[in-house]
Symmetry: none
Subunit: 239 residues, 2 copies
Amino acid sequence: MNIRLRHDAIVRSLRRSGTSTIDELAREVGASRRTVLRDICDLRDQGFVIHSEAGRGGGLQLDPQSVQTTARLSVAEVFALLLSVAAMRAARSLPFADLADAGLARIEKALPSDKIRDLRLLLECLHVGQLSPLQDLSDMGAMDPALLPAFEAAFLDRHCLRFRYRDARGRITVREVEPQAMLILPPLWYLVAWDPARDDFRHFRMDRISAPETLEGTSFRRRRVPFGDDVCPYSDLPL
Amino acid sequence: MNIRLRHDAIVRSLRRSGTSTIDELAREVGASRRTVLRDICDLRDQGFVIHSEAGRGGGLQLDPQSVQTTARLSVAEVFALLLSVAAMRAARSLPFADLADAGLARIEKALPSDKIRDLRLLLECLHVGQLSPLQDLSDMGAMDPALLPAFEAAFLDRHCLRFRYRDARGRITVREVEPQAMLILPPLWYLVAWDPARDDFRHFRMDRISAPETLEGTSFRRRRVPFGDDVCPYSDLPL
DNA sequence: ATTTTGGTGCCAAATTTTGGCACCTTTTTC
DNA sequence: GAAAAAGGTGCCAAAATTTGGCACCAAAAT
């Protein structure tokens, strides 16, 4: 596993579990104790405040306040945020208004409203280029939101994904696929994935997927998705 | 020299010089031609738009619009922003309110429990990741924020959209298209649209679109997007 | 006193990055 | 039409970095 991905995994784990020991983390991310210790060091260098306590019942704890973050929001959420700037100004009585102001101030500082060139720049401002693929849950049907991180992990860490799928005729199959892209055809969302068992690409409607789980330890490479000659996930794949 | 630093150095150099050759860059950053080529590949993967031209007088050129920026917000600030958006949505004063539901639904679910857990859940919701080095924002252009809803209207109200598009070879065209879908191939986004002038579907990389505007009064019908037999924009159309 | 847990220094093994090379394509110049 | 200048790819061995294991220390709880 990549060092970068491991750092992410460690932060995620610390956020989720509240407190863990180094050995737990090591087991979790599949690295040695020594490596995790080095990673913790790196993360501290990067500004994460990680409290540690020695002795029985001790462990590591991530100070949530220290997590200065790149906000990864959906396009829609970015729109919503930016379009609410003016309204936010008018409505000082909103909860956490001052904190929101602080956040907006930073966004605006990075992107003065009178200097906005186009949509692209706005999206960049919130680093939407790297957003997680699952923003819109409205069409996810009966899927348990708690299962969503499985998809995120599958995309971000490039793990294979297993899920149950009910096709248009109601037939249930279990798939193990390589998630390659998301396709939004409002109001429906599709997962575009390579299905090794069928040796081909398949589209899966998100609301027909259930019981997704990432297959830890698996990994896959990006493929040319069959959407057109000018569509390419990686610039180093031949166009 | 660190790979990260070298990437930064290359971007800086390209921004400063306007256009350079690979050999120039290699000399400048003290690496081999091969390595610089690999770096250029990496940078393109990261979303930088780097035009290249072979032959005498050719070289590399960085599209300033493609320079990624990152909003660094504290957890509390993100939290506050989203809460504010939620409040606005309640007040029905915000466009895109329903789409902003994505994160908000999860946040609202978390609200009753104690604050610390809220924040952790929120982080999971937004999948906050690592900090990225803040890039220079100084040369961002100007545009009226009022043009932002262009995409929104085009998708939700099914208006045609006009924009300037720069293709892979740098050629600029003005398009008037019918936006049909979005395709996410992390980290790149594509607009999938029907181009009446070409009587066919076309893919547009979002970062190559500029000056979007909805064509009021126009309208279009949904089409079967050419992505597979099982992909259909409407759930009530026959599969 | 023992156990649990964080933390450091060191070194060899494993892994990744790098540079060099041959060779290809496109474009301009002569 | 040939030559030169530029971007780009594949391959491999050398170089550099990362990793894991080990010994060992310090603090806290039992």
